[in-house]
């Protein structure tokens, strides 16, 4: 069966991609941020995953308000970078893990999740930036992807607990997938930031640091929080953090934190990364 090699959490701030496009990776403003991802990049190189399941939200690019799926799963052959207003970014298209996507969709529906199913869709910075942060800028991506889109923009957005439960189904899909492929799961978004209203620019580094601890040791607490608590604590767009719970739900109860990084502010956002492994698989490898 397929193997879950680990769970990654990361911000997906669009300015990160823009900084790479402008050749600012090693600028004084950005270097400390990007350097913090080097251990995560090494971990990915060592693990050699075949499939990356990436949970993110579309930011009003592939979906307008005419149709807003609460959860959508891609099962396309390929995903092209979308034009967000500045033209499509010059990065390679993403190849889809089509078979696994359909297997996952089957498992979701059998477990009473009913996602929108997308055979053709373009993708925005929500998946682009995490892929660039962990895999750099290759001529082509060395992994196939499964995008999971979560609506965290138009209310009602889903409950954090629902995201956590979806992660459990993702794990079941990985554990029952007849293949020897290696799967990594990326929960993306956050950390604290607010783009709308008089509280725009709100940051909460203390809560961000606590989140990076809790996502490993006490995810149940994060899953039990209300949406309003997320917004209050992490800002209106900080509610994106609930998408990390899909990743965490796919992991075992006991995990080991391999790497962690926090940097503030990346543009208007508290930016963070975490690399998790299941405790049992770490013990077996030792």
């Amino acid at each position: 069966m397929a193997k879950l090699v680990g769970g990654l959490g990361t911000s997906h701030v669009p300015s990160i991609g823009a900084a790479l496009d402008k050749g600012q990776r090693d600028s004084p403003e950005w270097k400390p941020f990007f350097d913090g991802y080097i251990p995560g990049q090494r971990w990915v190189m060592d693990q050699e995953p075949d499939i990356a399941v990436v949970i993110f939200n579309d930011h009003g690019n592939a979906f307008f308000l005419d149709k807003v799926p609460t959860f959508a799963v891609g099962c396309a052959e390929e995903y092209r970078p979308i034009d967000e207003g500045w033209g499509p970014r010059p990065i390679p298209l993403f190849k889809g893990a089509v078979e696994f996507s359909w297997h996952f969709i089957d498992k979701l529906v059998e477990n009473r999740f009913d996602p929108m199913i997308c055979q053709e869709i373009e993708v925005d910075h929500g998946i682009q930036v995490p892929m660039e942060l962990f895999w750099g800028r290759p001529a082509e991506w060395p992994v196939k992807v499964v995008p999971i889109f979560v609506n965290v923009i138009q209310y009602p957005i889903p409950l954090p607990s629902r995201c956590y439960e979806m992660g459990r189904v993702l794990r079941e899909a990985i554990d029952t997938y007849p293949s020897d492929e290696r799967v990594v799961v990326l929960g993306t978004g956050g950390l604290s930031h607010q783009l709308q209203g008089a509280r725009a620019g709100f940051l909460n580094p203390q809560a961000d640091q606590a989140f990076l601890d809790d996502i490993a040791i006490d995810p149940g607490k994060l899953a039990a929080m209300s949406r309003e608590e997320y917004v209050d604590m992490f800002g209106s767009e900080g509610a994106e953090l609930m998408m990390w719970l899909v990743m965490r739900g796919a992991m075992d109860a006991q995990v080991v934190v391999r790497h962690k990084h926090y940097f503030v502010p990346a543009s208007m956002t508290g930016a963070g990364m975490i690399v998790l492994e299941n405790k049992i698989s770490t013990a077996m490898a030792a």
Partner: protein, 116 residues
């Protein structure tokens, strides 16, 4: 005029709920259309008639034309959509933030984002 409503439960934080999603539909649809290069050119060529194509009210048009971000949000605009206006007429995201916060840019960077 602030972007918030009396029934907003989190201070100074306008959640994009059904009222705003309905109120802002036209303005967001217009902004969404700027994801298309030909539309961006049309917007640049003749903004007034471009806004008319999307049925924007005089109040909505005035907010867009004056790049009044706070007012656009008050009218139901969501930053993820209206941000696309800044792709046609460049403005930094932090300036959009500062405008909504009612601060000048330098103060916003220092007081909200902790930059010095």
């Amino acid at each position: 005029m602030t972007a918030e409503r009396e029934d907003d439960r989190i201070p100074d934080t306008p959640l994009f709920d059904r009222k705003r999603a309905l109120r802002g539909y036209r303005i967001n649809k217009m902004a969404m259309s700027l994801s298309n290069a030909a539309n961006r050119e049309a917007f640049k060529r003749d903004e007034e008639s471009y806004l008319d194509r999307f049925g924007l009210s005089p109040e909505e048009k005035a907010a867009v034309k004056s790049r009044n971000w706070r007012e656009m949000v008050r009218l139901g605009g969501n930053v993820f959509f209206i941000l696309k206006i800044s792709a046609v007429d460049p403005v930094r995201l932090t300036e959009i933030g500062a405008h909504q916060a009612g601060m000048d840019h330098a103060t916003f960077l220092r007081d909200r984002l902790g930059k010095r």
